[in-house]
């Protein structure tokens, strides 16, 4: 039975919007030109491949349903992604275990076969359970599995590269050999060398993780024995939802108010300026805290209005997006107002006004399309900041619900783990690596988009 969460619906709506935008861009040369420049940047394209993988994971993780249990009833809400990685999700240990460990982190009293009791590190239920003598066999087994996985990945990458090269050769009407030489020397318009290289790396990583996590906990397990790799991957969706939906929730208001303020000037301008100065003046952490506290109070008092924990957590995520949007739309609104103030004096707007075109039409047809590059730049630039903000907010308990998987929650719990002896470092490292990869890729991509779309920067490079 499918379950549609609010953020699922909005995320897929966003995908539709991006597709519609892509179709529009395809038909218009002036919109295609800056995107072509983005596509020529090797750094940006490498980042885009990584972002693509993240988006793919988030989208499969956004198809929720209740599986039918054996008794005929409905189980807990899980996502398509959960279903695909069922072993990873269900292989839970008792408590902490280090990456690739075969034994638990803490000593326990174990009853031997002959009835004696000893205190020792017990074997894990799933991690390396297939090994008869883990101490002797583990390294060999890991190496063996890795080599097998890498060989498979190499084969897949090779096949993919051949397909791409054939298509490229046909497209540019050269021989396969010539095409290969161009790609290897990096002399193609689109940096195919980087694209194929990044893809091959990611495929290798994917195969390694897939093969190894079948037998081991690659990134260890956390306090309640949940696989850390699973948690880190599940957090991708939370990060992406916050990074994208937050700006989009308030985007219509920001554009509408910003353009109206710049176009009408006078009292409209005063009101809009007053609105965003007031909102801006409230320290954003405190505004978020206030709203989240209020939602908590509401949820504590009306528990009956939420049918499941997942739905409640999702609603909190949505509210977090909205309030993050409220704190960040003001900047965009200010920029749009300034730009429209300049644009409204330009000849074509004056001409349209002289022809008697209505205000609404002038704004919609002449002004909005000409400030869209600012909107695009801001949306891409804000993304990484929002992902980082999520971690901080979850750390001070005003972020996502504690039951939601997120990097912030992982860091929050990992803080105390560092004080343990021996140190439990793997949760923190996992959160760090996954978050760093996303934010870095987003930053690099955003830089390329800004360089391509900002007319000021374009003039300098031309």
């Amino acid at each position: 039975m499918p379950v549609v969460l609010w953020t699922d619906a909005l995320l897929y709506l966003l995908v539709l919007m991006v597709l519609a935008y892509a179709l529009r861009v395809r038909r218009r040369e002036h919109l295609r030109a800056p995107w072509r420049r983005v596509m020529q940047s090797p750094l940006a394209m490498g980042a885009a491949v990584l972002l693509g993988v993240y988006v793919l994971v988030a989208l499969t993780d956004s198809l929720h349903f209740r599986p039918v249990t054996k008794g005929g009833g409905h189980g807990e809400v899980i996502s398509m992604f959960d279903y695909l990685v069922t072993p990873l999700r269900t292989h839970t240990e008792k408590t902490y275990s280090a990456p690739f460990a075969t034994h638990l982190y803490a000593k326990e009293t174990i009853e031997l076969d002959d009835g004696r009791e000893v205190r020792d590190y017990p074997r894990l239920l799933y991690g390396g359970a297939h090994l008869a003598d883990p101490r002797a066999q583990r390294t060999g087994d890991i190496l063996h599995t890795s080599i097998l996985a890498l060989t498979k990945a190499a084969l897949v990458s090779l096949m993919l590269s051949v397909v791409v090269l054939t298509l490229l050769a046909r497209h540019s009407e050269t021989t396969l050999r010539e095409c290969l030489r161009r790609v290897l020397h990096g002399r193609t318009q689109v940096p195919w060398r980087t694209l194929l290289g990044t893809t091959a790396l990611l495929i290798a990583l994917l195969f390694l993780l897939m093969e190894l996590s079948a037998d081991y906990h690659v990134l260890g397990t956390d306090k309640i024995g949940q696989d850390v790799l699973y948690e880190a991957i599940k957090s991708i969706r939370t990060g992406l939802v916050i990074g994208t939906l937050s700006t989009l929730v308030m985007l219509p208001f920001a554009v509408m108010l910003g353009v109206a303020a710049g176009y009408f000037r006078g009292w409209v301008d005063d009101v809009v300026q007053y609105l965003y100065t007031t909102l801006n003046s409230i320290p954003s952490v405190l505004l978020i805290a206030a709203v989240i506290l209020m939602i908590q109070v509401y949820m504590a008092n009306y528990p009956e209005s939420f049918s499941s924990v997942t739905q409640r957590a999702d609603l909190r995520l949505l509210f977090l997006c909205i309030v993050l949007g409220i704190t960040s739309w003001t900047n965009l609104c200010r920029l749009l107002r300034g730009e429209v103030l300049k644009l409204r004096e330009v000849d074509y707007v004056q001409a349209a006004a002289a022809f008697g075109v209505r205000h609404g039409n002038i704004m919609l047809r002449h002004l909005v399309p000409n400030v869209m590059h600012i909107v695009l730049i801001m949306v891409v630039l804000d993304f990484s900041g929002l992902v980082l903000a999520e971690a901080v907010l979850s750390y001070i308990n005003i972020g996502v619900d504690p039951s939601t998987n997120s990097w912030g929650n992982m860091i929050n719990s990992a803080r105390l783990e560092l004080a343990r002896e021996p140190v439990v470092w793997w949760s923190l490292t996992a959160a760090f690596v996954f978050m760093f990869a996303l934010v870095l890729a987003a930053n690099l991509f955003a830089d390329a988009v800004r360089d391509a779309f900002d007319p000021r920067l374009r003039r300098e490079t031309a």
Binding site: I282, L286, A289, Y298, N397, L418, M435
Partner: protein, 325 residues
């Protein structure tokens, strides 16, 4: 000039009223005081009598906006709106939900906050400008590219990791300085040096990249070309011409955040256990002390507006081309 300052200060009044109304709406209309009482008392101990008692103890037992029972102006003053919101305008923050005097707490906790914020800002600024000028000097070379990529990488690490990493490395492994805590007086440096360092390092990426852009923009201008055409050395061009003009946007940007330094750094203070206003705010959020959160919202907004005013004034001081009307 004075007329301008007065006008701008008056302009701040409607903004503060707006902030006040928003907080009032958030804290009292969306959730009634009854809801808050139930939340504080916990689900188990909720009885109508206990709720009434909690509300009375914290002064939430009056009507929201209009007191029918009272006479004269008391109709307006004996309300939650007057008692909790209007009084903020006189910087009378009242008592926290636990009964402590918020104004006194703020005055006391301000100093540790400043002790972290000011060195972080000043040393950070100096380092960022130095790095940015160095990169700008080598613009267009492989060093430039590498430095920018490094900056982007440093920006992509969450502040949390800088803090946790710094604490772990310096505090636990090297055991150089205490991980958290605070002493007032001269002994404080032991506790301050780590948070300040972490604060500076976490800001280098963003700051250096931003200042580099400013420098490059400045270096592309005509007067720089003139200076070079005169035969000035690159060092003179950078220091005497570019630096002075690039400092205008940098300094005015700093002035805007100066007043907010009082608010302290939320993360640094709470991680390192420093009794400043940042950790005060975090503690209030965690213990759901709405009175303190309200007070900090108001204080933050007031400081932000002062920052705006200072920015405008500083523009006229450092840049003679800007005139106030």
């Amino acid at each position: 000039m004075i007329a301008y300052i007065i006008r701008r200060t008056l302009y701040a009044v409607p903004i503060l009223i707006g902030v006040n109304l928003i907080t009032f709406f958030l804290f009292f209309v969306v959730n009634s005081p009854d809801d808050m009482a139930r939340m504080h008392l916990g689900i188990k101990r909720v009885t109508p009598a206990a709720v009434e008692q909690w509300k009375h103890a914290h002064g939430y037992d009056q009507p929201l906006l209009w007191n029918e029972a009272a006479g004269g102006t008391a109709k307006l003053t004996e309300t939650i709106f007057y008692a909790k919101s209007v009084r903020l305008f006189m910087f009378d923050f009242g008592r926290s939900d636990e009964g402590r005097d918020i104004g006194h707490d703020i005055r006391q906790r301000m100093w540790p906050s400043l002790a972290i914020a000011i060195p972080t800002l000043l040393i950070g600024l100096l380092m960022n400008i130095t790095f940015a000028m160095l990169i700008a000097f080598f613009r267009g070379t492989a060093f430039d590219l590498a430095a920018v990529v490094l900056c982007v990488m440093m920006m992509s690490v969450s502040t949390l990791f800088y803090i946790i990493g710094g604490q772990f490395l310096v505090g636990k492994i090297l055991d150089l300085v205490p991980i958290s805590g605070y002493l007032s007086g001269i002994e404080a440096w032991k506790f301050l040096i780590l948070p300040v360092t972490v604060g500076i390092v976490s800001g280098i990426g963003m700051g250096t990249r931003w200042y580099r852009t400013i420098f490059l923009e400045e270096l592309g201008k005509d007067y720089i070309r003139t200076a070079r055409a005169k035969g000035l050395s690159e060092r003179l061009v950078l220091f005497r011409h570019a630096l002075r003009n690039a400092l205008i946007p940098i300094l005015t940007g700093i002035v805007a955040v100066l007043p907010l330094l009082f608010m302290g750094s939320l993360l640094l203070e709470s991680f390192f256990g420093i009794p400043g206003l940042g950790s005060y705010t975090i503690d209030a959020i965690n213990s759901q002390d709405f009175a303190i959160v309200r007070a900090m919202v108001f204080l933050g907004s007031a400081l932000y507006i002062i920052g705006l005013l200072l920015t405008d004034i500083s523009y006229t001081l450092v840049d003679p081309r800007v005139r106030l009307q």
